[in-house]
């Protein structure tokens, strides 16, 4: 046992030393942090320069200069190349749902099918040559924005209304693939004929949708005391309505057709004539990759023009020999409309049409006579027939 004095001195010395050690460690760490920060900044500056250069150089020139392997690697590194990521991964990450018949749901065998699902399948067929190479992410409607913002998904097809706020905050919207409008469904026994009679009614609605916001606007606009009941998932919303907890349910009008089909008492329900909003349903991609955004737009245009030109999954092979120049260009038999520059096969539309079909086939299979029985008239017809389904020309 040492004398107490020694121990005290020893402790004091150790404490001094420990303090000195702490200062040294802290300084060292700060230095490391600063230098690595500078390093990161330099890399960031270099990347920004590389991106700017890559953008300035014409795409064709970029391809011509590809013989320099190092430069190519740098360009790939410098830009967020989602197409390359998808092709390396071998699957397209598509966010959708599984609880809305017609648009996205599971069939008896557990396959994900629907109008929105087929649009994902078309993109997968275009970029991977295989419509089934999809990694589905089933999310809640209210999770759509954060899912896109995180950049984890390649494509979101989930009855999403194109709005300005979403365009700014969520991602880029491709062409409108379905024109809808919000309405109300109620039970016939209540005897009401217009949505403006919904004063003091309880209305079921799903969270995180434009329907929810439009409902608030509508009740304020018309001075109606509507009690909203908000559920997280569509199927709970429908159950609550069907059980009579709510007097009416509100969502996009086309979806009611699908709901009614599932009810055991379809004749007792009535879709009110009022359309309280504009709901252009649109596929969308995350912000930040213009080339990927272009690809999705081209695929959507491709399936629309395939219908306009009369190319479908049955006659696609024969149509390659068509006399029609536009058909030949669409199928990659002659000329081009930019598909190779953007990184797709020249004949990618053959894969898309063969595996998924043209717009009309997709519509009929899911929403039309073979699906939930929604007549295709008015706005969702091709522009040729007086509708609004239209896309930028492919050339």
């Amino acid at each position: 046992m040492k004398p107490a004095k020694t121990r005290i001195r020893q402790t004091a010395a150790a404490r001094t030393f420990a303090a000195a050690f702490a200062v040294v460690v802290a300084t060292a760490l700060t230095l490391i942090a600063c230098t690595s920060n500078t390093g990161a900044n330099q890399v960031a500056v270099e990347r920004a320069q590389a991106t700017a250069e890559a953008a300035v150089i014409d795409r064709n020139n970029a391809i011509a200069e590809r013989d320099d392997a190092v430069a190519r690697a740098e360009i790939a590194e410098a830009s967020t190349n989602r197409l390359k990521t998808i092709q390396d991964r071998g699957t397209l990450v598509c966010a959708t749902g599984n609880d809305t018949p017609g648009f996205y749901f599971l069939d008896e065998e557990g396959n994900t099918i629907g109008f929105d699902v087929d649009l994902c399948r078309a993109v997968a067929a275009a970029v991977l040559g295989n419509a089934d190479a999809i990694d589905y992410r089933f999310i809640d409607l209210s999770a759509r924005g954060p899912a896109l913002q995180s950049g984890e998904i390649d494509l979101l097809n989930m009855t999403t209304t194109w709005t300005s706020t979403r365009d700014i905050n969520w991602g880029n919207f491709a062409p409108v693939m379905f024109y809808d409008g919000q309405g109300f469904m109620t039970t016939k026994s209540l005897g009401i004929e217009s949505a403006t009679e919904l004063d003091n009614a309880a209305v079921c609605v799903t969270a995180g949708t434009t329907s929810e916001l439009n409902l608030a606007d509508f009740s304020r606009q018309h001075n109606l005391n509507i009690q909203p009941t908000v559920f997280e998932q569509d199927d709970t919303t429908v159950s609550a309505y069907h059980a009579g907890q709510c007097d009416a349910i509100t969502t996009d009008r086309s979806i009611f057709t699908a709901y009614i089909e599932e009810f055991d008492n379809p004749d007792e329900h009535l879709v009110l004539p009022d359309i309280i909003s504009e709901e252009p349903l649109t596929p969308l991609v995350p912000h930040g990759d213009d080339a990927w955004f272009d690809i999705v737009k081209i695929v959507m245009a491709g399936i629309i023009y395939a219908e306009a030109y009369g190319v479908d999954s049955d006659n696609v092979d024969a149509m390659a020999d068509s006399e029609n120049i536009k058909v030949k260009r669409l199928l990659g038999a002659e000329g081009d409309f930019g598909q190779e520059v953007i990184g797709l096969d020249k004949s990618f539309m053959v894969d898309v049409i063969k595996q998924v079909g043209n717009y009309g086939e997709i519509y009929e299979r899911n929403l039309g006579s073979e699906g939930i029985g929604l007549p295709r008239e008015g706005r969702n017809d091709l522009w040729l027939n007086g509708g609004q389904i239209y896309a930028p020309p492919l050339r």
Binding site: R15, F21, R166, E212, S219, E232
Partner: protein, 392 residues
């Protein structure tokens, strides 16, 4: 030869003081590195991906609907107000849930130890069933049962005043009138008086052995003052639910327990009470059997033994895990969105559509943290008051 690296001849790496300091510093560095890593990552991603962030949106009109609220809410109110309304809904579910789950949990926990075989087996079945089924499933189960009730126009009516249907339970309620505050003060005096009378009489009963009826006396003081106040001030008006005009026949006035809130409360209470029952059982069993026998040999009957000897000692074991059950219940109430109760998570997931998600989720986290810390603080204060004097 002594040096700063080698005080007292011991190598510095074997010096206790040095080792302790070094461990502290290394841990601090690791913690700071991880936390700052997260912050830097979020900041970088917000910048790179242009994710909206900020709090300036809070003053703007939210234009979202909220189905039920403790305070009046309109869709044109601000985000901040909507957030507060939703937070209050969560607090409401939490407070009611905590009170009811505690009462039910104590009853089941004590039944579990009952010498009545059927009662203790029933309690066991209850505990093992509800503790082992995921809460979300239970919530949906209760909600579907609520939906099975007839709708608001065809539901059950009792005494022309109580309505039960799948939109909820509607009860007559009271609304304050002119003389409310004088009456409230008188009732408060009644409560204080009742507590003091109870304490005094209970002490007397223990010390002298004379039956003094402390519970009856306490309630009597409270009720006499309250009822006298009711007669003098006529402070309350009874409001009976009434049907609204029009085809929907919804009810207004009185108190309403909505179907969603009812299902949520039922789910939370049943689930949490199963855990609380086990905590209560463990607490009671932690008190040595000798204590029960000692109480008995002093002439205390079973109830008195439990109340004066067993519970005061069991409480010290029960309180800490009980508080964490309260925290669980509060956090579990966030599953409410699934069954249509507009709690904090449900409402903010609507707001996220138009407002910055990261800011809102951050606010939600802070709000839950604040609620949890509040429960913890209350629990810790109680714990400090009841621990053995001179120990720990």
């Amino acid at each position: 030869m002594q040096s700063i690296l080698n005080p007292g001849g011991i190598p510095f790496w074997r010096n206790v003081v040095f080792i302790q300091w070094a461990i502290q510093i290394v841990s601090a560095v690791v913690v700071i590195a991880i936390v700052s890593g997260f912050i830097v990552n979020v900041a970088t991603e917000i910048h790179d991906r242009a994710i909206p962030f900020g709090f300036s949106f809070l003053d703007e009109s939210a234009q979202i609907p909220i189905g039920e609220s403790l305070i009046d809410h309109e869709s044109s109110d601000s985000y901040l107000f909507g957030f507060a309304v939703a937070a209050l809904n969560t607090v409401k579910a939490s407070v009611f849930g905590v009170i009811l789950a505690t009462l039910l949990g104590i009853v089941i926990g004590v039944s579990r130890l009952s010498r009545n075989w059927i009662l203790s087996r029933l309690a066991l079945v209850y505990i093992e069933t509800f503790r082992n089924i995921p809460l979300l499933i239970q919530l949906l189960f209760w909600f579907l049962i609520v939906l099975e009730l007839p709708n608001v126009r065809e539901g059950y009516i009792y005494f022309d005043a109580v309505y039960l249907n799948n939109s909820g339970l509607y009860l007559p309620w009271v609304s304050p009138m002119g003389g409310f505050w004088p009456w409230a003060i008188l009732s408060f005096v009644g409560i204080v008086g009742a507590v003091y009378a109870f304490k005094y009489l209970a002490k007397r009963e223990i010390e002298t052995g004379q039956p003094s009826y402390p519970i009856i006396a306490g309630f009597a003081i409270f009720f006499v003052l309250t009822i006298v106040g009711l007669i003098i001030f006529s402070p309350l008006e009874i409001v009976i639910p009434e049907r609204q005009e029009g085809p929907f026949g919804r009810l207004q006035g009185g108190a309403r327990l909505t179907g969603s809130f009812f299902a949520l409360l039922l789910g939370l209470v049943v689930y949490t009470s199963a855990f609380i029952a086990e905590i209560v059982r463990a607490g009671i069993q932690s008190v040595s059997r000798g204590q029960t026998e000692a109480a008995r040999s002093l002439g205390l009957n079973t109830n008195a033994g439990l109340r004066y000897v067993i519970f005061p000692q069991a409480m010290r074991v029960i309180i800490p895990p009980l508080i964490s059950q309260y925290l669980n219940l509060t956090k579990n109430s966030s599953l409410a969105a699934a069954i249509g109760y507009p709690d904090l998570v449900s409402v903010t997931s609507t707001m996220v559509q138009i407002a910055p998600a990261i800011s809102l989720i951050g606010m939600v986290m802070v709000t839950y943290l604040a609620m949890s810390l509040f429960y913890s603080a209350v629990g810790n204060i109680y714990n400090r008051l009841t621990k053995y004097a001179g120990v720990g």
